[in-house]
Symmetry: C2
C-alpha cells in the first residue's frame, strides 16, 4: 500500500466517524424521544473526541508528509494532490488549538447557550452579558492559537470560509451598504405597495408538504439518495454523497417556512448530492465553504424560487393544492407577494433586500467586540443604533434585538458573514449561468431545471472542497468576489416590483 | 481517579460506539434511502472495528486487573464487583478469537447471506451447500478458539446464553419433545375446530397501528423514552436505557404481524426500559441473555397478549377500531382464533404449541453438523425427515424447509435454542408471578398491567446483565431451568380450547 492509500484509509475512517456523528445529530432533531438526550450528548462527544484524536495523531502527520512526497509529481490541481493539501490544511488548523482551549470553549458555550435561552425568553441582556464577554475572550485566544497576520477576525472567518480575509469582506460589505440602504428607503417610501397577506392564510400542512416535494423533485433532488423529514429548525445534513437529508417545518398559517425553507435546504442538498462519487469518504466530500454552500441554497430559494418564471409554472400547481385559498390570486400577484420587502427585526425572516443589512450589522459588531472597541454590556444599545441607521427601525425589546441569534452563545464568531457571502456569490454565479444558458428563464417557465443543475454540477458541485470559494469564483467567473451582479439584480428586480424611478 | 473509574470511562466510550452502531442499524432499516447502503456498511464496520480494538486493547486488561483489586472487598454481587467480572468475561471471550478468524467469518458469511438469498428465492439448496459447510467449518474453529470442555456447541451457545450448557438444553428439550408431539397430534385429530380466518380479513393499516399503540401504552411502554417505527423485519434496539426503539410491520390482510409483533417487541423494549439507571453506559446495561430477553417478548406477546383476560378487555377496544370486520365476533371467539394451532412449515409463523418443535429440529441439526454426523449436502433431506417426525408434515420445497432462516448463512450457530429457552423461562417466571400476584388475571381483564410490570422490573429487568439467566432463575424461582410450567401451561390452555380429553 502506498502512503497515499494508507492516508486515504485513515481519513476514510475519520470520515465515517464524522458521518455517524451527523446521523446522531439528525436523529436527535427528527425522531429521538426526549429521554434520549443525555445519552446522545455523551455519544456525540465520544464520536467527536475519537475523530479528533485520530485526526491530530502524529501518525496522520507522518502519512501526510509521506503522501505529499508521492503526489508531488502530479498536477497540483489533481484530486490526489488536492486531497493531500486540503487534509494538510485541516490538520495544521486542528493541531494549532490546544485541547484545553477546545474543552474550555465547549464548557463555556455549553453554559452560554443555556443562559442565552433563558435570557432571550425573558428578553433580558444582563445575565447573558458576562457570558458573551467570556465567549469573545476565548475567541481571542482561539484566534491567537490559529494565528493571523492582518486582522484577528481573519483566523475565525477562516474556519468557515477558508482563505477569505476580513479586509476583503469588509470592503465588499462597505461598497454595497449605501446602495442597500437607499433601496430599502426607496421601497419604504412606497408604503404597502406589496404585501404578503396571501402567504398568511390557512394552508393544510400535508398539502404544503406535498407541494414542496413536487417542486424539489422537479429541481432534481434525488430521493433514492436522500429524504426529507420534519424538525423544529430546518437543516441539511449528509452521511454520504448518496444519503443527503433535509428537514423542514410546516406552519398552518404561513406558507413561507415550509415552501421557501424546503427550497433553501434543497439548494444545500443538491450541492451535496452533486459531489463527485470518487470524493466519497475523503475530506474533499463537502462544500467549498459555508458561503459557497449558502450560495446554492439562496440560488434555489430566491433566484429560482422567488422568480417570475418559477411562479408562472408553479402557481397553477399550487392553486391545484389550494384552490379556495388562492381563488383571488394570479401567478403575477403571488410572485409579488412572495417578494414583499419590509424592514423587520428578525434576520431569519428578512427578505432579499434587507437580509444583507442584518448580516453587516453583526459582522461589524463581531469585529468591534473582538478588537475591544465594544464591550459586551453595550451590545444592545449598539445593536439598536445600527438597526436604526441601516433599517430605520428600533427593536421593541432585546429578544427581538441582540438576543435573537444562537450563534454568539455557541461560539460561532465569524460565521454570520458567510450568509451574505452566499447571497453575493449566488448572483455572481447566476450572471455566468444566464450567459451560458441564455434561455434559462424560458426553461424555468416550463418547470425545467435539468440544464441549470447540470451546469452547477459540472462547474461547482463536483469539486467539493478541492478549491476554496475564491479559487472557484476565479475559475468559474474569471474574477474574485464581486458585488456588482448582486446590486444589479436587487435594483432591477425590486425596481420593477415596487415601480421605483 | 480510581482504576474502577478509569475502567468505567473506557467502557462507557465503548458503549457509546456500540449504541451509535445500533443507531446506524436502526436508521438503515427504517428511514435510510437506498443510496445510503454502501456508505452505511463502511460506517458500521468502522464503528465495530474501533469498539472492538478499544475493548481488547491491553489497557482494558490492565484496568480490569487493577479494578478487580479495588472491588475485591465488596459484596461479589454488588454492581461494582459484577461490572468488573462481567466485563472480564466479555474481555476474555473477545481476546480469544484471532482477528483473522473474525475477518474470515465476516467475509464468508457476507457471501453466504447473498448466496442464501438467491438460493431461497430459487428454492435450490445446491449453491448454498458449500457455503454452509464452510460456515460450520469456521464455527468449529471459533469453538476451538473460545474453548469448551464437554460439547463443541457449548462454546457457541455461550455467546448468546452465557453459562448455559448444551447438555442442559438438550436434556430439557428431550424431556418436553414427546409431550409436545403428543399435544400437536391430539389437536390435529380435532380437525379445524379452531381457525384464524377472522385475523385474515381486511384491516386498515393506520387503525392497526393505532390499536397497537393503545395496547402498549397500557402495557407501560414509555414513549418519552422510546418510539415505534415501521420496518420490513420487526426488531427492538436501544441507544440508551432512555431511548428504546421498536419497529413493526403492518399487513392489510392479516392482523397478527402488526398486533402480536408489536406486543412481542414491546416485551423486549420493556426489559430495556426497565434497566436500572445506574447501569447506563456500562456493559451491564443489556438483557442477561438472548433467552431471558425472549422470555420477556413471549410473556407480553403470548402469556398476556393471547390470554382470555387480555381479550376480555381489549376485544371491545379492537371492535371500536374495526366494527364491521368484527361484527360477528365475541371476545371468546376472537381469543380462540388468536390461539389456533396448526403444524406449518415456517418457524416465524408458528403457534405456541408447534414453535418449540421448529427450534428443537434446528438445535439437533446444528449439533449434528458441528460434530460431523451430518453433511451440508444432506441437510434438506434430514430437515424434511425431522419435520415429518415432529410435525407430521413435509415441506413442498426447500425454500419452505431448510432455506427459510437467515441465521445459518449469517454464522449465528447456537442462536436458535434461545428462542425456545425464552418460551420455557417465560412460563417459569409466569408461575412465580401468578403466585406473587394472585389476582393478576383479574387485573388484566381490567387492562391493568402496572403490578405485572413492577414485578418484572423489581425481580428481573433492573439487574441487566449482572446475573446470568441460570442465576436469575435460581434467585427468582428457586430452581434452575425447569420445563414443567411450560408443559403444564400448554396442556391446560390448549386442552381447554381444543376440548381435549
Amino acid at each position: 500500500m502506498t502512503h497515499l492509500q494508507q492516508l486515504r484509509t485513515r481519513l476514510a475512517e475519520i470520515s465515517d466517524l464524522n458521518h455517524v456523528s451527523a446521523l446522531a445529530g439528525w436523529d436527535q432533531q427528527t425522531y429521538m424521544p426526549p429521554g434520549g438526550s443525555a445519552a446522545r450528548a455523551e455519544q456525540s462527544a465520544t464520536l467527536q473526541k475519537l475523530a479528533h484524536e485520530m485526526f491530530i495523531a502524529a501518525e496522520t502527520g507522518r502519512l501526510l508528509d509521506a503522501a505529499a512526497g508521492e503526489v508531488n509529481r502530479l498536477d497540483p490541481d489533481s484530486d490526489e494532490a488536492r486531497l493531500v493539501s486540503v487534509a494538510r490544511r485541516d490538520y495544521e488548523k486542528s493541531r494549532k488549538v490546544p485541547a484545553e482551549l477546545v474543552a474550555e470553549i465547549a464548557r463555556v458555550t455549553g453554559q452560554a447557550v443555556d443562559v442565552w435561552t433563558e435570557a432571550r425568553a425573558a428578553s433580558d441582556w444582563k445575565p447573558f452579558s458576562p457570558y458573551l464577554a467570556r465567549v469573545f475572550e476565548l475567541q481571542r485566544q482561539l484566534a491567537g492559537a490559529l494565528g493571523y497576520t492582518d486582522r484577528m477576525y481573519d483566523a475565525l472567518l477562516d474556519r468557515f470560509e477558508p482563505d477569505m480575509k476580513t479586509a476583503q469582506v469588509q470592503a465588499v460589505f462597505e461598497a454595497i451598504k449605501p446602495d442597500l440602504i437607499g433601496l430599502v428607503r426607496a421601497i419604504a417610501a412606497k408604503g404597502q405597495a406589496v404585501d404578503d397577506e396571501v402567504l398568511r392564510r390557512e394552508y393544510d400542512e400535508k398539502r404544503q408538504w406535498d407541494f414542496g416535494l413536487e417542486v424539489i423533485k422537479r429541481y432534481g433532488f434525488d430521493f433514492k439518495r436522500g429524504r426529507q423529514d420534519r424538525s423544529v429548525h430546518p437543516f441539511t445534513t449528509s452521511f454520504s454523497i448518496n444519503d443527503v437529508r433535509i428537514t423542514t417545518r410546516v406552519d398552518r398559517q404561513f406558507l413561507s417556512p415550509a415552501l421557501f425553507g424546503t427550497l433553501h435546504e434543497t439548494g444545500h442538498a443538491l450541492y451535496e448530492q452533486g459531489l463527485r462519487q470518487s470524493l466519497e469518504r475523503t475530506p474533499l466530500a463537502d462544500g467549498a465553504s459555508l458561503g459557497m454552500h449558502e450560495s446554492q441554497s439562496r440560488l434555489w430559494e430566491n433566484l429560482v424560487g422567488r422568480s417570475r418564471p418559477f411562479w408562472k409554472f408553479f402557481f397553477p400547481v399550487l392553486k391545484g393544492f389550494f384552490p379556495e385559498q388562492l381563488a383571488d390570486q394570479t401567478a403575477e400577484s403571488f410572485h409579488r407577494a412572495a417578494n414583499t420587502v419590509s424592514p423587520s427585526f428578525i434576520r431569519v425572516e428578512a427578505d432579499e433586500v434587507t437580509y444583507g443589512l442584518h448580516i453587516m450589522l453583526r459582522f461589524e459588531m463581531e469585529n468591534d467586540l473582538l478588537e475591544g472597541r465594544l464591550k459586551a454590556g453595550d451590545v444592545p444599545e449598539a445593536w439598536n443604533a445600527r438597526m436604526q441607521e441601516s433599517l430605520g427601525i428600533t427593536p421593541p425589546d432585546t429578544a427581538q434585538g441582540a438576543l435573537q441569534d444562537i450563534h454568539w452563545s455557541s461560539g460561532l464568531i465569524g460565521y454570520f458573514p458567510t450568509y451574505q457571502l452566499g447571497n453575493l456569490i449566488s448572483l455572481q454565479l447566476w450572471d455566468k449561468i444566464n450567459a451560458d444558458i441564455p434561455d434559462l428563464a424560458r426553461q424555468i417557465e416550463h418547470g425545467e431545471f435539468a440544464a441549470l443543475l447540470s451546469w452547477l454540477r459540472a462547474n461547482l458541485h463536483q469539486h467539493g472542497r478541492k478549491f476554496t470559494s475564491n479559487e472557484l469564483l476565479q475559475r468559474i467567473t474569471g474574477s474574485g468576489l464581486n458585488p456588482a451582479p448582486y446590486l444589479k439584480y436587487l435594483k432591477a428586480k425590486y425596481g420593477e416590483i415596487y415601480d421605483l424611478a
